[in-house]
Amino acid sequence: MNNHQGHAPSLDPALRLSHAGSMALAASIVSELRRLIGPGNVLTEKEDLIAYSFDATAALQQMPGCVALAATTEQVASVLKLAQETRTAIVTRGSGTGLSGGSLPSPDCVVLCLVKMAKLIELDRANLTLLAEAGITTAEVADAAAAAGLFYPPDPGSMKSSTLGGNVAENSGGLRGLKYGVTRNYVLGLEVVLADGEVLWTGNKCVKDVAGYSLRDLFVGSEGTLGVITKVLLRLIPKPPAKSTLVATFARMDQAAQTVSDIIAARIIPCTLEFLDRTTIRCVEDFARVGLPLDCEALLLMETDGHPAAVAEEASRMAELARMNSATRVLVAKDDAEANNLASARRSAFSALARVAPTTILEDATVPRSELAGMIRFIAAVAAKYRLRIGTFGHMGDGNLHPTFLTNERDAGEMRRVEEAFKEIFDEAIRLGGTITGEHGIGVSKKSFLPKFAGSAQVRVMRELRRALDPKGILNPGKMFD
């Protein structure tokens, strides 16, 4: 029987699964952890370790030494002090929905899980801010904001499960990046536990603050390598009074891409411009049953929000541009419920693709919008060259594509072809002035591509920053770069 060792792409040997499942983590460390955070919050049984040996990234698995479920910042600080003294690796995680292996355990590490720190501490209606613990889910934040007539735009596909702390650590995006930006654009302040256990606050409720380096911005997107984020202060915005959601279908992918270019050229910035290809449409409809048309090659999901008059005008302009590009039909969602169903259906795209293949490996190569149509053609050509099945969807408005290979991790030959194909896609993205990851992070999946993309000067500065904040190398070792 095949095992996990043979088919872990881009995974360096140090991270490969140790089959012995041995508990190399010293018993003294485990018993001290039990004393610090309570015996019920330290999991060591093999059945528990298996359940924390992966995140949402395909074909990656590594057994941790134990799992620590912290309930307070003080507990996190005490765990980190212990880790610092004993040079124990700490891999922080929330719900484990990451897509680059960022919260994959390192061998015999302590998995520090923050899902029990999930309190909403304050919603400040005067300053339009929200303060919450890191383990709260993205959906709970969005719902709390909406209940106060406010809006928290970042909406990663996993928002019902993903935690705010994980979103900040990965600087997650979502369907609204084009108009509203990503998680970083909403982080006003952070509470971070440093590698030595000291607790740091950075940022505040002020819109303007230039006192010293912006450490807050350093921690956003740091993937658990610089500190453990325990609280997040978010900026909220007023809820747009109106929105309109449209679905347009096309017989050819380039017609959809051209429609997107035309919309941007017409100086319209919709909040959502998502596309799905034929394979993805079928999988999503099979799951969500929201009535997506199945007889097209490409589908655009478009949403505009804002003042009712502007929304009405932009929606009709977008419909017109779609028709000018030979859209086979343009449908308008009749109410908020239908619009939300369409957006939820789109968010399920990645998981839904798993309906047609045992293993789905998705990437998020991103290019400047002007290069989008060319990049889509390139991806199709690469898939054909390597004889791979592919489903592509993504955020067309911001150039962030999700080519997803539909494969089987037990087919070593095919997995090698997937790796080769991704190399070509990343090289092309870099050549076109894009990036190797728009919103999923480096983690372990894209570690080998970072040096080429970032260049030696950037990598040197990153390395020095990391050494300054984590001199003993205990925080998420083996991730992002060595």
């Binding site: 029987m1 059945e47 528990d48 298996i50 924390y52 929905t97 019902k160 309906r355 037990r410």
Partner: protein, 429 residues
């Protein structure tokens, strides 16, 4: 093959296990994960253990066995899963694996299982005999006497709790209330078979009578044999797949599927199992084809009435009703709107939506008997939501849910009517 050396998970087509791509979208809908925030207690975590066994990275262990029985089997994860993982099949296989491996064996557990799952529920005559004794006990006032006497205090706490949950046995079983053939009222448009169930037959035979009544009033001739069999869901959900197959064959023998327009179930849990005989009997060439036809003919009562159209009922008093969804009706059978439409068809009935209506009430088959703590938490949560609606009536379509809510309301001292939607419809004709 020797039962003890068999690995259900290794023998299962690996693609069923592999279908889970561990995206984590099941986490927020899983009641046991929600309560504990521990991955092992989530669908994704449980599947990772099943996969580890299938891949020889884990031996079936006591912890594994206990985990599989900590799962409610509510299938809320299947509704949430974009990847279409067949958790129901994995769950049955995993429990069968736990049983075959013997990790959970203990003298008391073995005895209870041998009595209840392998003997009592394998033959409804035995169940009816026990029900008859229990009824006599209750009718003679002995149960009330015992409860008043204070002697129950001598029992261990857990047995006392179980005694308090003893259901009231109905004065008549289904066969005493329903003729073997009930003609359609008015023109006969359909010929259907009525499954009276096992627990339902003892405790809720009136619901079976109401179901037949409603069917007859909607143009159906209803065939209800007096002696029926258990559908086998109890066995399948508790690791006894071979016994479940035996019972499935008996059902198919008794109700030849080509003889009926539909075979009607009114219990969400049974219906969910009854619709999967083809998978269960996939390796049985004698029954496979009939099982496939059976699955097509098997209809939940709400589903069937929605298909044929409900004849408008006449009169009903003003009443405010909320609807609790049986997990296996909502998640197992994906029947969500039909019961609501049925209730909305009743004149003067105001339907108030129940918050978290499809969240498990903790009954989950026999879960409330084997996992009282978790089941109790879920019941509290459910009752709080029911009270928040202000409705004096809660409708639900599964005997386990009905019992759980009746017991819960009794413990809280609520005047809450717990009723099957079909009963409310029957009352309106």
């Amino acid at each position: 093959m020797n039962e003890t050396s068999q690995s259900h998970l290794k023998d299962l087509d690996f693609s069923v296990v592999q279908q889970c791509m561990h995206c984590g979208l099941c986490l927020p809908v899983c009641p046991t994960y929600e309560a504990t925030k521990i991955e092992r207690h989530s669908p994704r975590g449980r599947i990772s253990l099943m996969r580890a066994i299938a891949e020889d990275r884990l031996e079936p262990s006591l912890a594994f066995g206990r985990e599989m029985y900590f799962c409610l089997g509510c299938q809320a994860c299947m509704t949430a899963c974009p990847a279409g993982v067949n958790y129901a099949q994995l769950f049955e296989c995993a429990r069968a694996e736990a049983e075959a491996s013997g990790v959970l064996r203990s003298p008391v557990r073995n005895l209870v299982r041998a009595f209840a799952i392998r003997w009592l529920f394998m033959d409804l005559n035995r169940l009816q005999l026990l029900g008859g004794i229990l009824r006599l006990w209750q009718e003679l006032g002995l149960q009330a006497l015992l409860r008043r006497s204070g002697l129950l205090k001598l029992l261990p706490a857990r047995l006392r709790e179980l005694e308090a949950m003893t259901p009231d046995i109905q004065p008549h079983f289904s066969a005493g209330l329903i003729a073997p053939v009930t003609p359609a009222r008015g023109p006969r448009n359909y010929r259907v078979a009525m499954l009276t169930g096992c627990a339902q037959d003892l405790i809720f035979s009136d619901i079976n009578r109401d179901t037949v009544e409603v069917l007859a009033r909607n143009g159906c001739e209803v065939v209800t044999p007096p002696e029926q069999h258990c559908c086998g869901s109890l066995q399948a959900h508790n690791g006894e797949l071979e016994l479940a197959r035996q019972l499935a064959r008996k059902q198919i023998d008794q109700f030849a599927p080509d003889q009926f327009d539909a075979i009607i179930s009114n219990a969400g849990g049974c219906g969910s199992h009854l619709k999967h005989y083809e998978t269960l009997l996939a390796d049985d060439p004698l029954y496979r084809d009939r099982a496939a036809l059976w699955d097509k003919k098997l209809k939940d009562i709400h589903e069937w009435l929605a298909l044929i159209g409900i004849r408008p009922p006449g009169h009903a008093p003003p009443q405010v009703v909320t609807y609790h969804e049986s997990c296996h009706l909502a998640h197992g059978q994906k029947i969500v709107m039909e019961p609501r439409r049925l209730l909305a068809a009743i004149p003067n009935l105001k339907l108030v939506e129940l918050p978290e209506s499809s969240w498990c009430c903790g009954s989950a088959g026999i879960y409330n008997l084997i996992q009282p703590e978790m089941a109790g938490q879920l019941l509290e949560r459910k009752l709080n939501h029911i009270q928040s609606t202000g409705a004096a009536i809660v409708a639900t379509a599964n005997p386990g849910c009905l019992l759980q809510l009746i017991n819960g309301a009794k413990q809280r001292g609520l005047t809450l009517r717990v009723v099957h939607p079909v009963t409310l419809l029957a009352e309106a004709y």
